[in-house]
């Protein structure tokens, strides 16, 4: 029974991998954690011309890299900038320009995530067997097929009701009214400085950017404290800081923090307009 089961497994495994060898772009992530791993694996395993990389949290994760030439978005939803920075460091792939989201530098990196991506046992095997990658799971294949067959590939719309926005905004306003833990912030910024120094030593240009959030949160104590701490640690004389000016269209957001679809289009227009200032193609 054991031998027969292993035989069935081998047939299924080789057969499923064959599909992915023949159709390499048949992939889909069912949720944000799979998406985080899929992005890291794509960054690590796939060859590409790497002009710039974005690292950040879920705020930056929605930025569509396909509309930005030579960009790779390594931002991780539900996780932190340090996850993206660590993936880059361990993979040894250093871009010319690194965009670091400045909104939430306090979140810790996810060691389980990094252990998954860089598992010594699976690292080499994923290069040979694409079925082992996070976005090739059989459960996601109906969506992968739909993506492949659909001519109009749109991301899942991020729409919300006015009631939901109000509910989440109330919660965010309470959270943003509190100042961050100064000791922890100091420690995390020290960690960030180490990463920045490392990437600079590899010839990478660092640009910080603040993702615009709901106008009622922008000047609240938490956001102000973060902005101040970031600019003190990384002075604008040395590190360009891409802020979203007040003159631009305000963000409605889906929950106070994250872009809705309209916000995303607006921000992408602004972001692309700013790229030539950093000698990057729009």
């Amino acid at each position: 029974m054991i031998i027969k089961s292993i035989f069935v497994f081998l047939i299924l495994f080789i057969g499923y991998n064959s599909i992915h060898w023949m159709v390499p772009d048949l992939n889909h992530s069912l949720n944000q954690w799979h998406e985080n791993r899929a992005r890291a694996e794509s960054f690590v395993y796939d060859e590409r011309d790497l002009q710039a990389v974005i690292v950040g949290s879920s705020l930056a994760a929605r930025i569509n890299q396909d509309s930005l030439n030579g960009f790779f978005n390594l931002a991780t939803s539900g996780q932190s900038i340090y996850d993206g920075l660590e993936v880059m460091k361990r993979s040894g792939k250093i871009p010319k320009v690194l965009f670091i989201e400045a909104n939430f530098p306090m979140k810790n990196k996810n060691e389980d995530y990094l252990a998954d991506v860089f598992s010594p046992e699976l690292y080499q095997m994923r290069q040979i067997f694409p079925a082992l990658r996070a976005d090739r799971a059989p459960s996601a294949m109906p969506f992968a097929l739909k993506d492949k067959l659909s001519k109009d590939k749109k991301p899942i719309p991020n729409v919300t009701s006015a009631e939901n926005l109000k509910t989440m905004l109330n919660i965010q306003q309470k959270a943003f009214a509190e100042l961050p833990d100064a000791t922890k912030l100091k420690l995390k910024l020290k960690e960030l400085k180490n990463y920045v120094a490392y990437f600079k030593s590899k010839g990478c240009r660092i640009i910080f950017f603040e993702v615009p959030i709901h106008p009622s949160l922008i000047e609240m104590p938490f956001a102000q404290a973060m902005r101040k701490a970031m600019k003190e640690s990384f002075p604008e004389t040395t590190f360009p800081f891409l802020s979203y000016p007040a003159s631009e269209q305000v963000m409605t957001t889906s929950d106070g923090l994250h872009f809705n679809d309209q916000d995303l289009m607006t921000y992408l227009r602004f972001f692309k307009k700013a790229l030539p200032d950093f000698k990057l193609p729009a």
Partner: protein, 472 residues
């Protein structure tokens, strides 16, 4: 160290390679002890101090029960049990004591909040209690059968009983009278039931890594404040998914533990027996976390009087047992409330049974099954949301969002929930069909099923996460 980590696989393989070597046959228990201590200390070596101290307390007090002054037997047994419970209370319930009895700024309150929770303490203190009670009562064996005259040998055997890595940090909770007799024989490679081990490990890892680890990514949204933005159908689906997740996580772990123990020649009793097919709450507790419910029955419910002291006392004993059983799960009042819910259900069922029961027919059986499942699922909310006010908010939101349309994102979440919950339903239905002729097809092509499970284990596992019951 997690069962689903590569470092554990290497440790298990290395242990297995040494264990059955002919020259080391007389050292099988020390080999497993060393392996178990490495397993436990891997992430935090300081935890070993408490584990060994707990074992030492149980060894000394049980030794005193057997070989000390016969007049003091009860004293030593009670002392050992009290110390076990005191250790558990100190390390596990200090945050609850702090929040409940002290002001937020008080120094005692702050001190209590800092006390770490050693992993597995709920399990190994109960096993220590089992050893003490079994040698005191001598219901299954004479104390000296289990407690050798050599204190060193008794320490070794007890350290093995408590630290044996398959069950150390999340059960099944072993009872001394079930495990000690197994230590008396040498284990041989030729006696390994490979087919049994294979099936247990594959099913266990599938339940844990494919079902539970994927489901956790979708039931994440049950957390506060996210659930407040979901529609009622999505909230109900998430709750159903969580019910399947907690089963898959815990039953999966138990199957892995039983399979691993089997590899080394030890039989652990089943911890889950298809609990979601239960048609009564009494039946549910004979199928869910069997090792805990049987421990509570033998060492708490029966000593309290069980059902031998009249109806009112029986209901009270049920409530006390389930209240403490709930509190065992965590240092939060929500777990105690969860226990009380189940205690209340058991008591009410017992009260009503003589006067009212549904006919034992197919539709009525399914009605009862769904009723019990629905109650159990709703009660799991107290596990997922330990803040009681968040539980109430969840229920309020469920009630208020019936007319809210489901977004594309919600539909995708529900798709994921159903994909990884349906196998749990199939798992239970297959058990119900085990005597049906259709099951003969399953038996004939069982290898195809296990081959498929192994395939999904390799290519469709979720992002890694620790076992839910590790937090208890």
């Amino acid at each position: 160290m997690l069962f689903n980590s590569f470092v554990f696989v290497w440790l298990a393989l290395a242990t297995f390679a040494i264990y059955y070597l002919k020259p080391l046959r007389n050292y099988q228990i020390p080999v497993l002890i060393v392996s178990s201590l490495i397993f436990y200390a891997y992430n935090n070596p300081w935890l070993l101090i408490l584990l060994i101290a707990s074992v030492a307390i149980n060894v000394l007090t049980s030794y005193a029960v057997v070989y000390g002054n016969p007049k003091n037997r009860k004293f030593w047994a009670v002392t050992g049990v009290v110390i076990n419970l005191a250790l558990l209370a100190f390390f596990k319930y200090s945050p609850l004591i702090s929040h409940s009895l002290f002001l937020p700024d008080s120094s005692i309150g702050e001190f209590l909040l800092q006390i770490p929770l050693p992993i597995g303490i709920s399990f190994y203190t109960f096993e220590g209690i089992s050893l003490l009670v079994d040698v005191f009562k001598e219901k299954y064996f004479k104390g000296s059968d289990v407690t050798p005259p050599s204190l060193f040998k008794h320490f070794n055997r007890s350290l093995f009983f408590i630290s044996f890595f398959p069950h150390l940090i999340a059960g099944p909770i072993l009872k001394a009278h079930q495990f000690y007799p197994q230590m008396d024989t040498v284990k041989y490679f030729k006696d390994i039931d490979w087919k049994g081990v294979f099936k247990l490990l594959i099913m266990g890892y599938f339940l844990k890594m494919v079902l539970a680890d994927n489901l956790k990514d979708y039931t994440y949204w049950i957390s506060y404040p996210y659930f407040q933005t979901f529609s009622t159908p999505a909230l109900i689906t998430m709750l159903f998914g969580y019910s399947c997740q907690i089963f898959s996580d815990f039953a999966g772990y138990s199957l892995i533990a039983i399979g691993l123990a089997k590899v080394f020649g030890y039989e652990l009793l089943a911890n889950f027996n298809f609990p979601y097919i239960s048609t009564t709450f009494q039946d549910f507790w004979k199928r869910w976390h069997i090792s805990l419910s049987s421990f509570l029955q033998e060492y708490l419910y029966i000593p309290l009087g069980g059902n031998k002291k009249g109806k009112v006392r029986t209901y009270l004993n049920l409530m006390i047992t389930m209240f403490l059983g709930g509190l065992w799960h965590g240092a939060a009042w929500s777990y105690a409330v969860w226990g009380l819910f189940h205690g209340g259900a058991l008591a009410l069922e017992r009260m009503v049974k003589p006067y009212f029961s549904l006919p034992d027919r197919f539709l009525f059986r399914w009605f009862k099954r769904l009723f019990v499942f629905g109650f159990v699922t709703l009660a799991w909310l107290l596990f997922k949301l330990p803040d009681f006010d968040q539980v109430l908010k969840y229920l309020q939101t469920m009630n208020a969002h019936w007319t809210m349309g489901m977004s594309v994102r919600e539909l995708k979440i529900c798709y994921g929930l159903m994909v990884f919950s349906i196998p749990v339903v199939i798992y239970h239905v297959m058990y119900l069909l085990r005597d049906h002729p259709v099951f003969n097809w399953y038996r004939k092509f069982e290898y195809v099923v296990y081959g498929l499970l192994l395939f999904l284990l390799v290519v469709n596992s979720g992002t890694s996460g620790s076992f839910i019951y590790f937090q208890f």
